[in-house]
Point group: C2
């Protein structure tokens, strides 16, 4: 929290504050993660307070399965073993001696949007609806570089990645992804990865569900088939209405959320208002976002603001002349594969009411004649 | 500062920490601005602690001329007047109703590198050498949009921009720049602009010297010629050896700095080490960076890491096989206009010893046989 400060009546008439070791936020701004003091759970990014595309590192959503591990980097090693010619291990300083790569991408929890789907309430904020996605510049070493150092044996089709936290979370990752764009990240938005994001090192799999981007990474084991570890069997599987299940649904589908206007905002009067939000997809770039202000009857193409990067949050905006009528506003993202977000009804039909992960149906917000905004499901 | 925390011997054997409203840094990392408690002065970004290209907002360098203004956004307005058809004023909420733009670019103090030029010491860190440059994603409204709202009168060739801090800093800016890519920014790396960066709004002029990117912006006056305000006459002018002076030298020239290896690092032994640093230019994109490990006799092209954006910090790296010999390492940036950083001798010849601003000579670091690194001027 920024320190309490005196606010002068006229800042031109009194000297300002001296500089400090960190630049604090203004006391008039209070974006925070929520809910707080969750021991093993989820703390969400305040999307409604953010502009542009980067998520500040201290506001990146948190998800841990047995708390946030505190690790001394001098005692932490990443082991690479299994189907390799030369088992290797590295501490973070050794990783930094390899060529680095940087990439801006989102990480989204596979369960993001669950409450908004199962128990929607008008009084949900964008943070509560979809706050388990965040966007950062990640810097580290390509997994490919390290696997070439270790030398892969024939048959190594998967990699078991394991965390060094108290949950010892582990997932099996296809070798194809590991050799494509997987990164072992030691930095986030320029600085060392924050504790809750896996300090001193984490896996980043652009476009894949967040739980596979193993934090506090301590082990990569090259294996010939999925390990079927606890975390990929008891969780991250979706029962379907026909009795089958979706398992190993790694890639996050195209999705969008309006962050303004949204609860608890109130439009102060008729006139031009920007409808602004974020769109993203695990399958490359967002190609366009459509916005509706009449509950999905007609759609207009929104502008994409700033850079459009693959597997990254993309800001969209649509200038709306609100005439004071009740309205339902919606956004709909399309990605470079041609895939478009499904309607809520389409999503419900295919996935059923009990589905647990990968919620990407079109969302709506209702604007009342008095300008109040509520989440519409 | 992160709260003091217990560090377990084995983080897999005890539950981790609960989540909190902000994700703290690891207690094992301590990047901070320096020097501290500077009332009216400069506090520098710890470049040697950073990776990738983004500067965390709380580590953006600070420069103020009468302290950091504390402003209640509800009481702050931006006035646009002078040679306009309709004088206008906006608070920050009103600015947010215009279409937003986002752009990642550096802001560099025009005096960055002064101590390294005038009083170089081997014990200077990258922070002390060149820490008055930082790189952020800025979001706000195009100045062009607002000037079109106000309607420009004939003859309006310049804009006086004035801050609402206790220095009431003001500069005259060419209309051409204002209509090109100038932004009134209310957000920085996704969140509201930090207090020391001009909350609730600042001017961002991509590629121009930092002092023109007026913070705590309260006034834009369209005028027919430069105002010759105090800040653009008593400062920001460079005496040249021939008795003439450089004034209105707005654009920052191409420049680079090695951030590793650099003081106080010590190479732990012969072998492969990445030479990594940042390059930037106010004249577009960096096209290449060359690195020398023999004091400038031979040069090798470095790799540019991640995105190369115009007027933005660009990370470079060069893999160097150090054989244990004493060495002098240097970096040299070239931009898309074909301009290349001058040598220290070339710079000194043209600009003289008393020059005050726009230091962009090639820098060097010396590596001793025991691996210690010192700043070489």
């Amino acid at each position: 929290m920024p320190p309490p400060v005196d606010v002068p009546l006229d800042a031109t008439k009194v000297p300002g504050l001296p500089s400090t070791q960190f630049s604090p936020r203004s006391p008039f701004e209070n974006p925070t993660l929520a809910p707080l003091n969750v021991m093993s759970g989820s703390t969400l990014t305040p999307l409604q307070h953010l502009k542009g595309s980067i998520t500040p590192s201290d506001l990146h959503f948190q998800r841990s399965h047995n708390g946030i591990a505190v690790i001394d980097p001098a005692k932490h090693r990443l082991v690479i073993h299994g189907l390799v010619n030369r088992p290797l291990s590295f501490d973070v300083d050794e990783l930094k001696r390899f060529p680095s790569v940087s990439r801006t991408c989102f990480i989204e929890c596979s369960g993001n949007g669950r409450a908004a789907y199962r128990t929607p309430k008008p009084q949900m904020t964008p943070q509560e609806v979809d706050g388990m996605t965040s966007n950062s510049e990640w810097t580290g070493v390509s997994v490919k570089t390290l696997l070439h150092e270790a030398g892969m044996k024939g048959g190594a089709g998967w990699v078991l990645a394991e965390g060094g936290d108290a949950a010892v979370l582990s997932r099996s990752i296809p070798m194809e992804k590991m050799l494509d764009d997987a990164i072992i990240a030691y930095a986030q938005n320029g600085e060392p990865v924050r504790m809750s994001n896996g300090y001193p090192m984490r896996l980043v799999l652009p476009g894949y569900e967040g739980n596979m981007c193993i934090k506090w990474l301590r082990r990569l084991k090259l294996i010939d088939q999925p390990n079927m570890s606890r975390d990929e069997t008891v969780k991250y599987t979706d029962p379907l209405p026909d009795g089958n299940s979706r398992q190993f649904s790694f890639v996050m589908d195209a999705k969008s959320v309006i962050t303004s206007p949204a609860f608890p905002e109130r439009l102060k009067g008729a006139g031009w208002w920007p409808i602004s939000g974020l769109a993203w997809t695990g399958r490359g770039k967002i190609t366009h976002v459509d916005v509706s202000t009449d509950g999905g009857k007609t759609w207009f193409e929104a502008e994409l603001v700033g850079q459009v990067l693959p597997m990254a949050h993309t800001r969209f905006q649509y200038m709306w002349e609100w005439k004071g009528q009740p309205a339902t506003i919606m956004s709909r993202a399309t990605d470079e594969t041609g895939y478009t977000q499904p309607t809520l009804q389409e999503f419900r039909t295919v996935r059923g009411p009990g589905t647990d992960y990968h919620y990407n149906a079109i969302r709506s917000w209702t604007v009342a004649a008095d300008g109040t905004v509520g989440f519409g499901g």
